[in-house]
Amino acid sequence: MKRALYLLLLIFVLVGCKSSRIVDQVQIIHAMGYDWKNGTYTGTAIYPTFKQGPMTKPDILTTESSTTYDLIPRLSSKSALPIEEGQMRLVLFGKAFAKKGITEIVHSLARNNKVGSHLQLAVAKGDAEELLRITAKTTLSDTLYLSNLVEQNIREMNLPNTNLHIFLYNYFGKGRDPFLPYFEKKGNFVKLEGLALFKDGHYVGRIDLRQSFLVKMLLDETKNGVYQLPISKEKQKGRVLLENLYATSKYSLKKGKKPVIDIRIHIRASIRDYPIWLDLPNKESFALIRHQMEKQLNKDISKLIRQFQTKEIDPLGIGDFVRSYTRHWNEKSFYKQYKKLTIRPHVKVDIVQTGIGE
């Protein structure tokens, strides 16, 4: 009995050896920006400072260095409290930085056990620092503004699902290339402007938010997103707004000398807005706009894919798809003929509803 007590005592003493980080005695970074300007790297961290009660005020730390590695340690030299990166929700790359290559940061994030897999990465047109400063100014207490913006758009709108895990999956994986949300400064606001496309860790171009809906649809089955389409009837022209309810895509491969990839896309959608002259409940005009929409979507998707092919990037993971149907698939030889590959979209639109009024 006595011995057990000694043991117990020892265990309690040893518990004191733990290391602790108390929440208001560390500086929790919520977003981090990386820039490449005039030959040096700039790191910007945005973190909440706790004033009175639950109100927080976003604050900014920024530092410069000739490498990306010591940006966070250098930030520490400007901060009274130890810097903690475990709650980081967003890493924003300036465009110049992204063009130069984000490989180092990505590998460092992949190794870092402190950051979660749900971390968002994004690219900013211009400087990441500028954008972070805007969000710190325009929002009263929200240091998570940009990451929430990304998440909201993934959940409800046109942005395909992205986070650190998905990025790493696309980055490391053979037969696929990564993409990230793309931000732009519009006046005093930050606006999501589509997807930034990468090849081997370098930024190579972007697509707009409308096209990113197509990417979203082609990547996965999805239950959200809106898409505006032109329609015409006789001599009247107008636009309809298609709201996706449930879209699926199915790839199939025809092997042969000239392999053909068919993508069958089935969209169940509701028409949210349409011109007055179109009397929608009418069966005829229903069929008409359905046909026009399908045609237009086919055209847009073909254009998008051709855009990818000329840039020789593969955000849709076509290579990975072909790999799953090919024994001993070879990445190099596939991408040699990638440019000339025939990829045919076949869109089928089902209009489920048109709202509660006529």
């Binding site: 057990a4 043991l7 020892l10 265990i11 040893l14 050896c17 733990k18 290391s19 475990g86 590998h107 992949a110 056990n113 979660g116 897999s117 749900h118 895990h165 998905i166 790493l168 999956y169 490391f172 994986g173 053979k174 990975d320 798809f321 799953s324 149907y325 090919t326 024994r327 001993h328």
Partner: protein, 373 residues
């Protein structure tokens, strides 16, 4: 005498927990990586192959005990079949193997805790706590070790196992295809790599004497191995659809990184919870291995377990301080798993065949004797 011994025995049913608990250890956190190197996305086939091999080896172990007649653990078996000298040399080897097993499991777990949770924590602190607990448990006798095995299986099964399914949100089922993209040889190489993950059942060679109606427990041991195979298949299935082949190469503990995905409002990072609960997976193995080692000493030189236990624990504690870098730990791990591999693949079948032939010869001899009369 028999009545007195009875209270140290466990019922055959508990063999399920001791075998399964000892099999699933620290390896399940990282085996995807090694498997991926050899067979890529066809790893699940290797797991089935290795699992069947383990089934056969368990069968052989039970057969050996039955054939030997009187021997009830490996110490007695060695002396029965190899004579006193050679047998005891082998026995020393076994005791060393059990000690190494406890050491590597302890050190690997501490490494995980250090890398993921407390980088500043010294090895000795955790090692000390865990070994003190081991002392307490092993002193309680074999039955308390078995009790620990029971909870070491049940609690992680209820807590960690369900968390593994969250990453299916990011599943790419395409990753399985084309099935059998690798040659038979690659698959066998992969199977060799994962056989190590099935290790742990060989401890049965030590505690067989403590099972009430030893042969009755055979089906429980087989069931435990089947269940281990099932768990490995689930883990490899989820890892295959969650990671692609290139990505796994960059992750040291793929199973723990899977734990980064589930997110609940008040705990954002489940991998820390998983690591904490994981002590319940690791701890029974350490206890079982240390118990086996001290039991071996007792059988060999009739050293009381109460006396040998502190010596053994201090040895392990000191030894654990010598392995500090990733590389050293990795080398130790490779060393122990190589010994373990050849132990089960070489020694068990050899012993079985030896037992079989001795029995045959004896049978013939007695037949001859009878015909002489």
């Amino acid at each position: 005498m028999t009545l007195n011994r009875e209270r140290f025995f466990i019922s055959p049913f508990f063999v399920f927990f001791t075998v399964h608990g000892a099999q699933i250890g620290i390896g399940v956190l990282s085996f995807q990586r090694r498997l991926n190197e050899k067979v890529g996305h066809d790893g699940w086939i290797s797991i089935i192959v290795a699992g069947i091999v383990a089934h056969i080896l368990i069968w052989m172990m039970y057969q050996t005990f039955q054939l030997s007649g009187t021997s009830e653990d490996v110490i007695q078996l060695n002396i029965q079949y190899f004579g006193k000298w050679l047998g005891n040399v082998l026995n020393i080897g076994f005791v060393c193997y059990f000690l190494l097993l406890a050491l590597i499991v302890l050190r690997l777990y501490i490494e995980v805790v250090q890398v993921w949770m407390f980088p500043l924590m010294g090895t000795w602190q955790f090692s000390l706590i865990l070994l003190l607990l081991t002392y307490y448990t092993v002193l309680g006798g074999f039955r308390s070790v078995v009790g620990l095995c029971l909870w070491g299986v049940v609690i992680p099964l209820l807590t960690i196992f369900p968390m593994l399914f969250f990453p299916l949100e990011y599943a790419h089922y395409r990753n399985f295809f084309p099935i059998l993209d690798h040659s038979m040889l690659d698959i066998l190489k992969g199977a060799k790599e994962v056989t190590v993950e099935y290790l742990g059942f060989e401890l049965l060679l030590m505690y067989y004497a403590f099972i009430k109606d030893g042969q009755q427990s055979h089906r429980w041991a087989q069931l435990a191995n089947g269940f281990t195979m099932f768990i490995y298949l689930v883990v490899i299935f989820i890892s295959t659809v969650f990671y692609n082949e290139e990505q796994v190469k960059h992750v040291i503990w793929p199973t723990l990184t899977l734990g980064k995905i589930p997110e609940i409002p008040f705990i954002e990072r489940m991998e820390y919870i998983i690591i904490s609960i994981y002590v319940l997976v690791v701890f029974p193995i350490i206890c079982l291995a240390i118990w086996s080692a001290t039991r071996g000493l007792k059988q060999m030189v009739s050293l009381k377990q109460r006396l040998s236990l502190p010596v053994v624990l201090i040895t392990i504690f000191v030894a654990s301080l010598f392995f500090n870098t990733r590389e050293e730990i990795d080398q130790l791990g490779k060393f122990v798993s190589t010994i373990g591999f050849y132990l089960v693949i070489g020694y068990i079948p050899f012993l079985y065949l030896l037992a079989l032939f001795t029995k045959r010869l004896k049978g013939k001899a007695s037949m001859n004797e009878r015909s002489m009369i």
